[in-house]
Structures are given as C-alpha cells and as structure tokens.
C-alpha cells in the first residue's frame, strides 16, 4: 500500500471517528463532542482524505474506496461502542 492511499484511509478514519463522537448516540465517551465543530472537523478530514486518495487513485476509484471505507467504519464504530458499554458494565 502506498503512502497516499494509507494517509487517505487514516484521514478518513479520523473523520469517521469525529462524526461518530458528535452523535448523541455515541457510546465511547460520557458525553458527545460538541456537534457543530466535530461535524465540521469530520467534513474537513474526509475531504482531506479524499484529496489524499486522489493522489494514489483515479477520482472515480478514489470515491469508491472512500465510500467502502466509510461504510465499513460507520458499521464498526457503533459496535466498538457497544463492546465498551459491556466492558464498563462488567
């Protein structure tokens, strides 16, 4: 995996985490992050991630990779949250 692809995926990961933590349904922290700044940060990170992916891939392929990655992360993050809830409860 080349550097541009890896950094694009990492930036998108950070963006997805910010987006998740801004949700009232997040289960990682005691309280969600302030919604507006966190979502703005998420947007900026995702755009930056897309820009990095475009260095490694053609634009349409970069969109497909970003969409696939975001779908997977947004499925996994709530499940991690549920696991954390169970841990704390135990």
């Amino acid at each position: 995996m080349n550097l541009a692809l890896a950094s694009g995926l990492l930036l998108a990961l950070a963006g997805c985490i910010a987006f998740y933590l801004a949700s009232p349904q997040q289960r990682w922290r005691a309280a969600p992050l302030p919604a507006r700044p966190a979502r703005l940060a998420a947007g900026v990170l995702l755009v930056a991630g897309m820009a990095a992916l475009c260095q490694a891939l053609q634009p349409l392929t970069a969109i497909y990779v970003l969409l696939t990655w975001v779908m997977l992360l947004l499925v996994l993050l709530p499940y991690l949250g549920a696991l954390l809830t169970l841990r704390r409860g135990a």
Partner: protein
Amino acid sequence: MRSELIRIYKAVHTWTGILTGMALFIAFYAGALTVFKAPLARWASPPAFTEVAAVPLADAPALIAATLAVRPETARDFSLNLKLDEHQPARLSWQVRDPKGDDHDSFSVRHYAASMGADGGVSVEEAQPSKLAEFIDVLHRVVGLPADTDPNRWFMGVVAALYAVALVSGVIVLLPSLVKDFFALRVGKNLKRMWLDAHNVVGIVSLPFHLVMAITAVGFAYHDGIYALQNKMLHGGGLAAAFSPRAGGPQDAPPRDPAAMLPPAELLARVQALAPGFEPERLQYAQVSGPRATVRVWGHDATAFSPRFSGGFVALDPYSGKVVNTEYLPGQQDAPHATVSSLFALHFGAFGGTPVQWMYFLLGMAGAWLFYGGNLLWIETRRRKVPRDGSGMPVQRLDTRLMAAATVGVCLGCVCGISLSIVAGKWLHGQVADLGSWHRYSYYAAFSGCLAWAFLRGGARASVGLLWLAAMFTFAIPATSLLGALVPALGLWAHPAAATLGVDLAAAAGGLCFVWMARATARRVHGGPADSVWSARAPAAASTSSGKEAAGGAADEVEDGVATAASTR
C-alpha cells in the same frame, strides 16, 4: 408518512426477510471468502502441482509453436501466464469446456498445461488444479445450491429480488426514527431493542453496498434472458454480431502461421506504451491461425477499478501488434463502459487492491450478520415472556422454535461445511480420485449434519455445540498447514507465500471469533432468562412434566408444544 404505510412495509420487510435471510447468509459468508479466491486456490494447491519447470518468457514463442504443432486445436484459445503461482504454475495453459455443460458451469471444465524440456520437446498434460476456491464461489453464486446451473441461478435471482425489496422496505420502516437513532446500539435489558439496533446499524450504514449487491445479483441471474428478449425487441437481432465483432470474417482465408506472431515481450511493450500503469498478468490468445487472430492482455491497474473480477484487458492483433480494443482497459474507459464496469467492480471489490479486499471481506461478513440478526429479531419479536402474575413458564411458539433451529442449523452448517471443505482440500489430496467432488461431499455432509442436529436438539442446545464445531473445523485450517510444515511425511503442505499464510491467519482469527461466540452463547443458553427459545432450561418440557427435561430432544418438545397449544385452545 402515514403510519399505515409503515405497517404495510413492515409486513413486506418481515416476509421478504424471513424468506431469504438464510439463503443470503450463505451467499454472503461464501461471498466474503470468495474475495480471496486466488489466495484460497493457492493455499489448496499441492506442491507436486507446482513442480513443473517454468518456461522462461523469452522461450514462449517456441513453446507456443511446439504446442500448436502437437495440439493444433489449441489455436482456438490458450493463455500465456506471466504471473506464475502455486495454483497456476504453467507458462502455457488452456481449458476445454464440456460441450454439453452449462455455460456457467466452471466445475466440469478440463485444464491442460504445456511445458518444454531442455531438449526443446513439448509435453502436454491435463492439469488438476484445486477446485476448492471455485466450489466456494459456486456456493456464493447460487446461495448454497450444489451447482451453477440455469434453474439454480434463477432461484438465486428470486432471492436477490426479494432481498432488494427487503432493503427498500427496511429503510421505509426505519425512516421515522432514522436521524434520531443513527449510530444507536443500545445494549441492555431490552433484548429486542438491542437486536433491532444491531440489525439497523449494519443495514442503514452499508445500504449502498447492499443495493449494489442486490441489483447486480439479479442481473447476473437473468442477463441471458433479458439480453435475448431485448435482442428481439430492441436490437433487431444484432446483438451476437455486436458482442463479438471479430468473429466470422472471411472463411476461405488461408491459415496463418502462428510462428509469425510478435513475441510476447514485443506485445507487452505495445501495451506498456499505451497504458504505463497497467500491470499485465496473462496473454489470452484466440483464433491465432485465423484471419481474426486476437490476443487479450489481461491485468490490473492499481489506480483504477477493474471491469471484471479477474481484471481488465486490452486486445491486440498478435501479428501486427495493432491495438484493436481498449474498451475494457482499466482507467481508460469512456463513460458508458465505465458505468457498466463500475457495477462489476463494485460487486467484486475489484479496486483499491488488498485494503479494499479486506473491506469487502468485512462488509460481506457484516452482511451475513445482518441476515442472521434479522432472523434472531423475528424470533425475539414473537417471544412469550413469563407473565407478571407468576402463572408459570410459557411455552414458546412452535414457529419460533423451528425458526431458531433452522437459523442455527443453516448458518452454522454453512460455516462448518465451508471450513471442513477447505481442510479436506489438503487431507484428501492424493487419497481420492475426484477431489473436486469431495469438496462438495464434505460441505454437504457437514451442512446436513448440522441442520439435522439443530432440529434434533433444538436451536438453543444445538447452537453451543455447533459453534464449538465451527471453531474446531476452522482452527483445523491453520493446524493442517502447521502440521504440513512440521511433519512433511504426512503428505500435507504449507506454502511460504504471504497470501496463503494470510488464509491460515484469517482462519485462526475466525476460529477465535467462534470460540468467543460459543462461550457467550453457552452463558446465555444455560444462565439466561428461561422464557425464550434460546434457553436450554426447556420451557416446553418444563411446562408439561418435569421428567421430560432429561429426555430432551426437539422432536418431543415440538409434539409437546403442539399438544399444549391444542389443549389450551
């Protein structure tokens, strides 16, 4: 939206979901593994198979000429392989299809390979490549049925169409609470809430992935029929000519001498000049002695998506080196071709290399979980809880008990069957004549055994044992490789390649997941609330007579349940 419509679509979602959930589980579990079809095929290829001396690419023209001299019929279609591995060790290979077989039946295809000795003599042999990966792909393509035939694919198409309706109806049902509950996964006392959240978060977030899968799967099922219909109605019968413009041609042309073809290195140089980022893997020659000789140079472009599962290609005239077709060249397609190719690429995860393959693997597994969870939700919704007045343990409904047994039996049966079938690829090699069929036998033996056990013991009791069995069979995959590496005398083997070690590591991780699930399920079955189909504390038997519990057996319970239900009516 009117709440009436929500209720209607809830019924639609329930019915389409419950009818297709288990078939879709198999399609997605096998499909997630099919992402790694090539590593699986390499994992299962015996070392004896790879001991063919590889002919250097520079000697390829001599190899082609010598092969065509002994097997002239091969001129119709053969491949020169640039990337040799455990599964495809021969430089030159070709396939012969059973003329009576189905077009999609990849199982009855015979494979041949040609190699050249030091003296320049050519030897042609029938290769027996492992059919393991192909078998898992067939399970994926026809939702667990044994062969990729027209009727089986049409059945898969019905499943896929209902799956599409289930997706849309599920979103409609969820619309009122979509924004409020986005990301919600509330674990706690309310089990129905938890299963609903666990189901919704996967379904909503990966909806685009699932819509692509549903639409492409229906297309794969019915494209032959739709093309035939459109050919008559819209295209004036011109489709065959449009799809293979280089077929036909002058019949009386004198046969050409393949020795006059440009050497592969020259052809590859032309492709390199045309598409610097394209990495060729295979040269597929067709009709080389005819007037319409072509060579398709197959490969991948790391920066673009591939039009097909096995990559994309550029077609050349092998005599002049002239490029005749770039419509399927990754990264250089026009908008209409890129649109069609996107559908294929998005179904197969044929873009972004290994990282995206892993993403597709996990999204596929999440899909299997979506359908499994859907069935659990159906059961939980119909659960009979202990009444507050303390009037004793209720008998769970017959349909929920049968559904619990079927869900556990089919889903874990598929998991056990595939793992056993993979393991059989190494243990039975050299022991049986037709290993391809034995992949099928071992899968269906495990599958039907698990299913029968689930109905015999009931979903709750069977689930723990079957999860341990799934863990055992799955751990047997890396254990077999380890044995092969440590004790060569056993006749097993382990390839040192990263891809095949990846198969072993992924199986070890999968085994750990099944152990974790088995332990969690055991806690629930033996210690959780008894007023559920998921309790081994036999509510059905307990409610009738205390002595029955020891006898166990779902058959007894089912009859008891029916009798009790009838007597209370």
